[in-house]
């Protein structure tokens, strides 16, 4: 990664005699490497095109349809791209971003719509946000008025969020305690307490009147998001303006959209989420383009794309050309699996996979990063204990290479047979795959922490900082982008993991969307796997391909998020 420049520097210093030989070998090596790269990329692209062809059923369209779209969409957009590449580089990059940002916005909006329709309704969301704001306020107030009480602050830091979110709920336990794995009954635990303290979250529901869902979303999603992006604008400008302006514009436009949406048959909540995710990042980007006053031409590119598609569709319909009848369409994304290939959809597995990834993130990230910090910063590196730590680290590396089906068995033994959870539920799937990627998270976090130069740490110690302060304020901020990238890439692997899911009994066919983390769920890779063994050939070619493409897009979004986050933190 970092050794490139030194190579270039020493090559010219070498004696002339060896130079001709090493150049030949070097050229051959370069060609071989280039060949390997091209081969790899071509094979992967070929596979993707093959799957995409099945998923979109391109063969079903008339040649005339292709001709129409070639002239309305392909020619104008390629022409523009060519012009940008040759004449106007700045406009080219504007075109690239101005097309990409709305696309990502739409994908994110899809995720948000799923979250707010299946997981949490706007009222619960408001309660959650409100409780967290209260917790944040209490913590910062404590920090301000009692800055010296370190231990107390620790307590406040942990207890406040728990109390505001959960209060002191009524506890009622009636459960036989058994030894894990063998299942011998030890004793029965049985007690119950009354609810002592309601949580802030519950207090909110005591209010007799709560605003309509879309108004809540406007306040708790649109406004904060616009404020966050507004800070970006303000940071870019010298005059610190843009925050309130963006919030005002976004809230106004989105509110208007929310009132128009229901008239054309969309839900107000859905309209809010989609317009917010589309509008706010796009406006932020537009402000930058307008202020820099260059590359305006690039803004025409997305317009040409959308316009070309529209004109093409109108022309093709009026000329009577058959359009392709893709397996991967809107109804595929929004309906449940079915025995009829045409009706088959992927919504429950999609939601299931998202829930599973949430569990994975919440379980593997804290444990993995914590372990990495301990191993890199605290663990002894000499003496007998040091050798033990070395032994541990080697074995974490080994664990990263253990086949995933073994983790599936481990999850089955541990969570289903040991703890006694039901098989095939979200939490079991998430924890099992969380175990699977834990070694990867630890190793990549360790690498990121190792990459922080020791001079930084020593400088911090030299100024009298304690080890905790050094880790908190020097090491972690520096290592964070690396940790995040490694973790999200591991998540990408996790979402496609199939074998452990089959071991812990994630069912082939689940038509209901899971209600929570303890509900039975379908998962995308398991669903794809079960389509593969369906009777009707349409499942094995078309529907399965559509499922694969959906999974790939979700994966790309996750990896894209990793890249964006990394770039953001590296710049700061």
């Amino acid at each position: 990664m970092a050794s490139e420049p030194t190579d270039g520097g020493t090559a010219s210093d070498r004696p002339t005699l060896t130079m001709s030989i090493s150049q030949l070998r070097g050229r051959i090596f370069e060609l071989i490497s280039a060949g390997a790269t091209i081969f790899g990329i071509t094979v992967v692209m070929g596979m993707l095109v093959y799957v995409a062809r099945d998923a979109l059923r391109l063969g079903a369209a008339d040649p005339g349809w292709y001709l129409v779209f070639f002239w309305t969409l392909v020619v104008p957009s390629l022409g523009m791209a060519g012009y940008f590449a040759v004449r106007d580089r700045a406009a080219g990059s504007v075109a690239y971003a101005a097309t990409g940002i709305p696309v990502i916005g739409i994908l994110v909006a899809g995720g948000l719509v799923i979250v707010f329709t299946e997981l949490i309704d706007p009222q619960e969301w408001l309660a959650l946000v409100f409780a967290l704001v209260v917790a944040g306020a209490i913590i910062s107030a404590h920090q301000r008025y009692r800055p010296q009480a370190t231990f107390e602050r620790l307590l406040v830091l942990f207890l406040t969020p728990i109390l505001t979110l959960y209060g002191i709920p009524a506890l009622s336990v009636d459960r036989a305690i058994t030894t894990p794995l063998t299942g011998t009954e030890l004793f029965t635990l049985s007690f119950s307490t009354p609810a002592l303290l309601p949580s802030v979250r519950e207090l909110l529901f005591v209010l007799p009147i709560l605003p309509a869902g879309w108004i809540l979303l406007l306040g708790t999603v649109t406004a904060p998001l616009a404020y966050g992006f507004g800070r970006l604008i303000a940071a870019r400008r010298d005059d610190e303006r843009g925050r309130l302006e963006l919030v005002a514009v976004a809230v106004t436009v989105v509110a208007i959209a929310a009132n128009i949406g229901p008239l054309v048959g969309l839900s107000a909540e859905g309209t809010i989420l989609v317009t917010t995710a589309l509008l706010v990042p796009t406006l932020t980007y537009l402000e930058g383009v307008v202020r820099r006053r260059e590359g305006f031409a690039g803004l025409a590119f997305p317009v040409v794309l959308v316009g070309g598609t529209f004109v093409g569709a109108v022309l093709a319909t009026s000329l009577g050309f058959a359009s392709p009848d893709p397996w991967l369409d809107w109804s595929f994304l929004t309906s449940a699996p079915s025995r009829t290939p045409e009706d088959a959809g992927m919504y429950p597995p999609l939601v299931g996979s998202i829930l599973i990834v949430i569990v994975i993130a919440m379980s593997a990230f804290p444990v993995g990063v914590g372990a990495a910090i301990y191993l890199e910063e605290y663990a002894p590196d000499s003496g007998r204990l040091g050798r033990f730590v070395d032994f541990l680290e080697v074995n974490i590396g080994n664990l990263a290479g253990v086949p995933s089906i073994v983790y599936g068995l481990l999850g089955l033994a541990l969570f289903v047979n040991g703890v006694g959870l039901r098989d095939g539920i979200v939490i079991v799937a998430g924890l099992t795959i969380g175990l699977l990627i834990l070694p990867i998270v630890i190793i990549s976090s360790q690498e990121a922490i190792k990459a922080v130069p020791d001079s930084r740490r020593e400088a911090s110690y030299g100024m009298g900082a304690t080890r905790w302060q050094t880790i908190r304020h020097v090491v972690l901020p520096e290592a964070f982008p690396g940790i995040l990238t490694g973790t999200i890439l591991a998540m990408g692997r996790a979402i496609g993991e199939t074998a452990p899911l089959l071991m812990i009994g994630v069912a082939d066919s689940v038509r209901s969307v899971p209600d929570g983390f303890f509900d039975i769920a379908a998962a995308m890779p398991a669903q794809i796997f079960s389509w593969k063994s369906e009777l009707a050939p349409e499942f094995r070619t078309g529907v399965m391909a559509a499922g694969v493409i959906t999974l790939l897009v979700v994966l790309l979004v996750m990896n894209g998020t990793a890249i964006v986050l990394r770039n953001k933190y590296q710049r700061e």
């Binding site: 944040g136 309509a212 929004t334 449940a336 079915s338 025995r339 969307v513």
Partner: protein, 343 residues
């Protein structure tokens, strides 16, 4: 010092944020129109929209019904699940294809699943395992399958085989070359593709065609996925394999199905729904589902079972590729169900 500075800056922005959030919140409250007290579960009306007018509006059934078991019975159970959920969207019927034996051992007998499909009767050992876990299996015969023996499309040397010939091929330490069966067959080694030993199809074939006294060959590619069997046969001229009729009926052009006869004296019977129903196809076999008796007390499971057993008479079963139950079987099944559920 730098630290303190940043603290102040972040404090200031946080305060500003609170102001903004507060004022938008106040605005939102001012524009509030709707008193909301809908605490009832609104997440239940998911993508599985019920098309057609068969929606029972005020239906109170809800819960989860878990089905495991044979991959042969899977299409039937899955269709039943889909149709039942069209009428009762709050009941989540999940179907997993685990193989008959795999379903009994790992899911049904430990009490994890409510219903297990099986392409052979439950074994004594499995009954024992179930009862030791307080699970009483209740057997229902729901359909008939014509187990299909298939070869490659380019295989022009064989059309009909006897049980004895198949037994020689599929038994443990059996013959290795086609020419060992009949002299006119080519001298090519068999490429065998069949189900895994967790499968009821495997057990049935072993018990009824190979013969109890022999073991099933381990020299085949075992899989729970019928499409892999078909793929293997399709790609190997010397290939041979067996699977349920449903898979053959939706992929007839991919492989060639063999006629079979029990012995040299019998006429050859070709696989099909009619021949299986008439009894002229010797490899016809019953398909079963096993319900957990105790769980039948649950309304949603009882109703689902009723639905399943009644619908098993209809065309949807023959569309999948099995022989549906006849009226007598349905009546007998329903009687058995009510007896087991105590209704």
């Amino acid at each position: 010092m730098a630290d303190q500075n940043s603290e102040v800056v972040s404090g200031a922005t946080r305060r500003k944020f609170l102001t903004v959030a507060g004022s938008t919140g106040a605005l939102a409250l001012a524009g509030c129109t709707e008193s909301s007290s809908d605490d009832d579960d609104s997440g239940s009306d998911d993508g599985s929209s019920s098309d057609g007018g068969s929606t029972n509006g005020g239906d109170s059934l809800s819960g989860v019904v878990e089905i495991t078991g044979s991959s042969t019975v899977f299409p039937v159970s899955d269709t039943m699940a889909e149709n039942f959920m069209d009428e009762h969207p709050d009941v989540n019927v999940t179907v997993d294809s685990t193989g008959s034996g795999g379903g009994f051992d790992n899911h049904f007998c430990p009490g994890q699943s409510d219903l297990n499909g099986a392409s052979r009767p439950i074994s004594d050992q499995e009954t024992e395992q179930c009862t030791s876990n307080d699970v009483q299996p209740v057997e229902f015969e729901i359909a008939q399958d014509a187990l299909t023996m298939a070869v490659n499309n380019d295989n022009d040397w064989v059309d009909c085989m006897t049980f004895d010939e198949m037994s020689q091929i599929w038994r443990e330490d059996g013959v290795e070359n086609w020419s060992d069966i009949r002299d006119e067959f080519p001298d090519e080694p068999f490429e065998l593709y069949g189900p895994a030993d967790t499968s009821g199809t495997y057990d049935w074939f072993n018990a009824n065609v190979i013969g109890e006294e022999y073991g099933h060959t381990t020299n085949h590619e075992p899989t729970e996925e019928d499409d892999l069997i078909v793929q293997g046969i399709r790609d190997n001229v010397a290939g041979m394999g067996y699977f349920g009729y449903a898979y053959y009926s939706s992929n007839e052009e991919e492989v060639k199905a063999l006629d079979v006869r029990a012995s040299e004296d019998d006429p050859c019977g070709s696989p099909g729904l009619d021949t299986a129903k008439e009894g002229t196809y010797p490899m016809a076999r019953p398909l079963f589902i096993y319900a957990n008796e105790e769980q039948l007390q649950r309304d949603e499971f009882y109703e689902f079972m009723r639905f399943y057993l009644e619908e098993a008479e209809k065309d949807l079963v023959s569309e999948i590729g099995y022989v549906p139950s006849n009226a007598d079987m349905v009546e007998e099944n329903l009687q058995k169900l009510d007896e087991a559920a105590g209704r």
